[in-house]
């Protein structure tokens, strides 16, 4: 075609949409043309499913969405695996669920089934997943996602090292390694942040950093000490890594601590440019506020939570006031209305009255239809109204179920000002059916992680404390279909039914490439009251990303 992409206006084989002329793209046949030449209908396939290409929205294949505009939520371009998987996963391979669990928790699960086997060669350019910095960056990214556009890892205005880890391998002394040669390694570390009167390690990464009161980092004794001072040397693609991060402190300190942690963390290495100039972290309050703000689960046309969807629907309904008028009653229901002859009981002693619709006088002996609410009308008057709105012309009560308005008719909108009611009902219709199941699975995962990583489990009372808030699971580790496929050099995963008793697990179950990160923010502090933050758990298993935040 004459106006096929060519010449100077091209951008990767596409027409230049940034110039004066508007470019139209056909979603049907991917043809593109200038709007002033062919208008809005595709000249090739006559499709009307076309879109004017703009800088913000370029649907054409190969055209990248430009840098996230300021103010957009980070999830807008969020793909936590972007940086360690060059193969673009098929859309069908990406699964993302965000559900609300019990107790106000938010549960996000993202699964990407990579179509290519994850072997060592394909992760050449990726950051070492065993590197704690990488783990923390992931954690930080996740929190950034939760905290909304306002959140970036920033540098608080204080002296001291900007980077939590500095240039040397952090926590190398605390990392541990399990398994003999020839078997997959389990690597991991345990980070504990604490405040209060615990003394910080003087040789910790925060040397020269903030004062004792602020934040301290210390390493717990690891079960298998590895004192190698160089970067954690177990970058086996078949290994698994596990990190446990605990934050302990008095309840009123948690918020400040979180703020401190985020402030302490330097921007991720390749994100420094983007993050430059951002303000300090808003702290836990900001996190909660953004978690609870449905607007943050909304990105353009896409919503991520039921509440955000609900908000959009409410807005639409308010913009189109007539559209939330009750729908028509079914003809069958109208026909089935009982007919009565007016008598003194209905008309009173005067024996006179009027139909409220046509205001014509009625007399004893006239035939009327009676609605379930006992209001009566001329049959023609009632059916004329009911065939458009399933409400009583007087009290607005519906006359029964109808196919087009089954939800509304039962609502019985007695009060014209009951606008809030439908919203509340819709809220309750949210898809939260599987929340227990998901929470249980998460519990199972954590147990399994503890078992296989031989991390010293938390004290029993702590476990019970946590389990009280969620039901006991009978569930299993979610498995990717990929993992059932035998892969060279890999072993079938063993069902870890015994994850409740870690001591019985002698060797880590062998599995395909699997990386796990667990970040736990604990709210317990000896002798203190329960903090407002109950737990923050990040599980990052193989291709499934899990994090959950719950509040009491």
């Amino acid at each position: 075609m004459a106006d096929q992409p060519q010449g100077s206006g091209n951008s990767r084989g596409h027409l230049d949409a940034t110039g004066q002329r508007q470019v139209v793209f056909c979603h049907q046949c991917t043809h593109e043309w200038y709007q002033d030449v062919h208008g809005l209908i595709c000249p090739r396939c006559q499709s009307e499913i076309t879109e004017i290409v703009s800088g913000e929205s370029d649907p054409r294949p190969g055209m990248h969405i430009p840098d996230t505009p300021p103010g957009y939520h980070q999830l807008f371009n969020h793909n936590p695996w972007d940086e360690d998987d060059n193969s673009d996963p098929e859309e069908a391979d990406i699964e993302e669920h965000i559900t609300h669990g019990p107790g106000g928790s938010v549960f996000v699960r993202q699964t990407i089934r990579a179509s290519t086997p994850r072997d060592g060669s394909s992760r050449r350019d990726r950051p070492d997943p065993n590197d704690p910095t990488y783990v923390m960056r992931d954690f930080q990214n996740m929190l950034g996602t939760l905290m909304g556009p306002g959140f970036r890892a920033g540098r608080p205005g204080r002296s001291g090292p900007d980077d939590l880890y500095g240039n040397r391998p952090p926590f190398s002394a605390t990392g541990f390694r399990m398994g003999g040669s020839g078997t997959p390694h389990v690597v991991g570390g345990r980070f504990t942040f604490t405040t209060g009167n615990l003394r910080p390690r003087t040789d910790g990464p925060l040397t020269g950093g903030p004062p004792v009161e602020d934040l301290a980092t210390y390493a717990s004794p690891s079960s298998s000490p590895s004192s190698s001072p160089s970067p954690l040397p177990f970058a086996s693609p078949n290994g698994r890594s596990l990190y446990l991060i605990s934050i302990r402190g008095p309840p009123d300190e948690i918020a400040r601590m979180l703020g401190n942690i985020f402030g302490q963390m330097g921007p991720p290495p390749d994100d420094g440019r983007r993050n430059a100039g951002m303000g300090g972290p808003p702290g836990l309050q900001g996190l909660f506020a953004s978690l609870l703000n449905p607007a943050n689960a909304r990105h353009g046309d896409a919503v991520y939570t039921q509440e955000a969807l609900d908000q959009i629907i409410s807005t639409l309904m308010e913009q189109h006031p007539t559209s939330n008028a009750p729908g028509p009653a079914s003809p069958h229901a109208i026909q089935a209305l009982p007919k009565r002859k007016l008598d003194e009981e209905l008309l009173g002693p005067e024996g006179k009255g009027e139909c409220s619709v046509c205001m014509d006088d009625v007399h004893i002996g006239d035939e009327v239809v009676m609605l379930p609410c006992t209001h009566w009308f001329h049959e023609t008057c009632a059916s004329a109204w009911l065939s458009e709105h399933n409400t009583c012309p007087i009290c607005r009560k519906g006359i029964g179920e109808s196919p087009s308005s089954s939800g509304r008719s039962s609502r019985a909108p007695n009060s014209p000002n009951s606008r809030a009611e439908p919203r509340a009902r819709r809220l309750s219709l949210g898809s939260r059916l599987s929340r227990d199941n998901i929470m249980n699975r998460n519990e199972a995962r954590l147990d399994s992680i503890r078992a296989t990583g031989r991390i010293t489990p938390p004290p029993r009372e702590e476990i019970q404390h946590r389990r009280r808030s969620s039901h006991r699971h009978d569930s299993y580790l979610p498995r990717d279909p990929d993992e059932d496929r035998p892969m060279p050099g890999s072993y079938r995963r063993r069902e870890s039914e015994d994850h409740g008793s870690p001591a019985t697990v002698q060797d880590p179950p062998l599995s395909p490439p699997l990386m796990r990160q667990e970040v736990e923010v604990e709210d317990r502090y000896p002798g203190s009251e329960t903090a407002s933050l109950r737990s923050l758990i990040v599980g990052d298993m193989s291709k499934t990303k899990v994090f959950s935040v719950s509040f009491p």
């Binding site: 014509d360 458009e388 014209p416």
Partner: protein, 154 residues
């Protein structure tokens, strides 16, 4: 046609016994669907003293569809557009809350009450709604100013 009949009946009712401070008639004697109403600014509102001309339009589907009211006299009010149209937003006349048993008499009284007590959460004019919510004295001052400008002595 029942609509004509009912409208005629309602017209007779309100003209013979009009709500306080209202003069009601037809714009054109041959058309019962357009009513001409002159409403006094009610006592207890900053519109007192003004005379507001309203056009009440009854659709042919009346009473199955609600009437509409337009202020022909400009009025500075959260629920009335401050323009040539003078469109009014009032709950009783909304498509989803209208019911055939509502009468024009109810509508007119509701309109009068709306001048006394605006509904800022349902506003058409956000500036006056904000003032009404946050700075009542300034709202009253502005409303009085515009009443004097448009609705008094015209």
């Amino acid at each position: 046609m029942s609509a004509q009949k009912r409208i005629a009946k309602e017209l007779a009712e309100v003209t013979s016994n009009p709500p306080a401070g209202m003069i009601i008639g037809l714009v054109d004697e041959s058309n019962v669907h357009n009513w001409d109403i002159t409403m006094d600014g009610p006592e207890g509102s900053p519109y007192v003293g003004g005379k507001f001309k309203l056009l009440l339009t009854l659709p042919v589907e009346y009473p199955f569809k609600p009437p509409t009211i337009n202020f022909k006299t400009r009025i500075w009010h959260p629920n009335v557009t401050f323009d040539e149209q003078g469109s009014m937003c009032i709950g009783i006349l909304k498509g989803d809350t209208w019911k055939p048993s509502s009468r024009i008499m109810n509508v007119l009284i509701a309109t009068q009450n709306l001048l006394i007590e605006p509904v800022p959460d349902d506003a058409l004019e956000t500036s006056s709604a904000e003032l009404f919510k946050n700075n009542r004295p300034l709202y009253e001052k502005e409303a009085k100013k515009y009443t004097a400008q448009y609705a008094i002595g015209k």
